[in-house]
Subunit: 255 residues, 2 copies
């Protein structure tokens, strides 16, 4: 299995604190040592870092932890391989373009082999994971249903939800998906989120000795939502999604 | 204008030496301070680093210079903006998937506005540069002509050459393009390459005080070709491509 981390915020925010917790699970406090990746959105642009090496001793992960990249939307993943070798093309998150937007996807779970019977549309996997195949299928479905970007994104959310339910029938399927503004979080078995806004307090990481006082790091109008397979802090109330639930976040707020 | 750097090699090779020279031109010895990017292939997988900040003082560029990533194929670009704002989505290289391969593209030059009249196929630009539009058009054309990956890549090279000639009519168009194995280098006005193989010698950078003795860094069977808009070393013989010429490299060798 793997671990997911997502962020949706109304101001460019760095994810150093949460990422510091997550990367400990990549070969440190957790067994997810088979690579990691992270995508940061700045407007429509996305920069993605991929590393097939354990995050806990990755120089690139260290750079990200220490060199804040401010972003509205982030998706990150650390991998414990099941389907597909440990190599760069099998490292999440995966990206494809639709409607002139870069879509980013990361998956936690494992799907039945019958997944590979689903017919693909425009998008083909580069690697051999079930996750990338599922993403290519899902995005192909969205493209077929919505050849142009619709104004009403509630319809898109509902459609994605429907297709995610279909994938959930094939095994464990928790996912994060975004096109730069909307962050779609689907819970097949486990996924939790927390929204931090004024009045901000202190948070302390479960996976290492690190506490941050968000009051010192933020302004009163900031809204920052963090999503993770397993809560990253031990002194805050995280909301657990129900299996089969999809939540769409825009600027940190549930739609 | 911008600067291009490409590499094609028969063994995983780091590009630290050439990159050290190139990044000096990003705000140091050259005016290309409007962002930079680099894509490294490891098998079919590609990792890409993008930064809209000048390469000369980029922490990420520094990491790449000091932390060798070994790769068969590399495409890098530093930007001096003309069409399109300075922002992440306008930062080269650009990537899209075709046939289950990640294609990477970088462009030096500037194209006439009539470029935007060319009809796009499957791929749409995320940003607003002429370069990304040209790439989307070119890859859409390749997809239309070759819906499946052909066995005979000479046909693909000839087709890309033809379409590049069409783009060259619209202005200055030097480009590097790859799908992980084949590196296509098209010269509209300037592009040079050099192949380093046994017996290896010394090379010294034009843009900073750095000399490397490749004999110490290589094995006798290594073949490494480097391509750049302007030669990066001052004590070696680079081959200048003719305007209108396309060269395809596989494992460092001209096809």
């Amino acid at each position: 299995m793997c671990e997911l981390l997502g962020m949706s915020a109304n101001v460019p925010t760095d994810i150093c604190f949460s990422f510091a917790g997550l990367m400990q699970r990549g070969g440190g406090t957790g067994p997810h040592k088979d690579g990691w990746g992270i995508a940061f959105y700045e407007g429509k642009g996305a920069r993605c870092f991929h590393d097939p090496n354990p995050s806990v001793d990755s120089k690139i992960a260290n750079l990200i932890k220490e060199h804040p990249i401010k972003s509205h939307v982030v998706i990150s993943h650390i991998r414990q391989a099941n389907v597909g070798n440990i190599c760069l093309e099998n490292t999440h998150p995966f990206q494809r373009e639709l409607w002139g937007f870069t879509w980013t996807f990361a998956h936690n779970g494992q799907l039945d082999k019958s997944l590979f019977d689903l017919e693909l549309g425009t998008y083909e996997p580069v690697g051999t994971t079930d996750s990338e195949y599922a993403f290519c299928w899902l995005l192909g479905q969205i493209r077929e249903r919505f050849p142009k970007r619709p104004d009403n994104f509630a319809e898109v959310s509902a459609f994605i939800h429907e297709r995610c339910e279909q994938l959930r029938k094939l095994g464990v399927f928790n996912m994060l998906l975004t096109e730069s503004t909307h962050l779609f979080a689907f819970c097949g078995s486990k996924l939790s989120w927390i929204t931090r806004k004024a009045p901000f307090g202190e948070a302390s990481l479960t996976d290492c000795e690190l506490t941050v006082d968000f009051m010192k790091e933020t302004t009163p109008n900031d809204i920052v939502t963090v999503i993770a397979t397993v809560p990253l802090t031990d002194n805050e109330e995280w909301v657990a999604l129900e299996p089969g639930e999809l939540v769409t976040f825009v600027e940190g707020i549930v739609q």
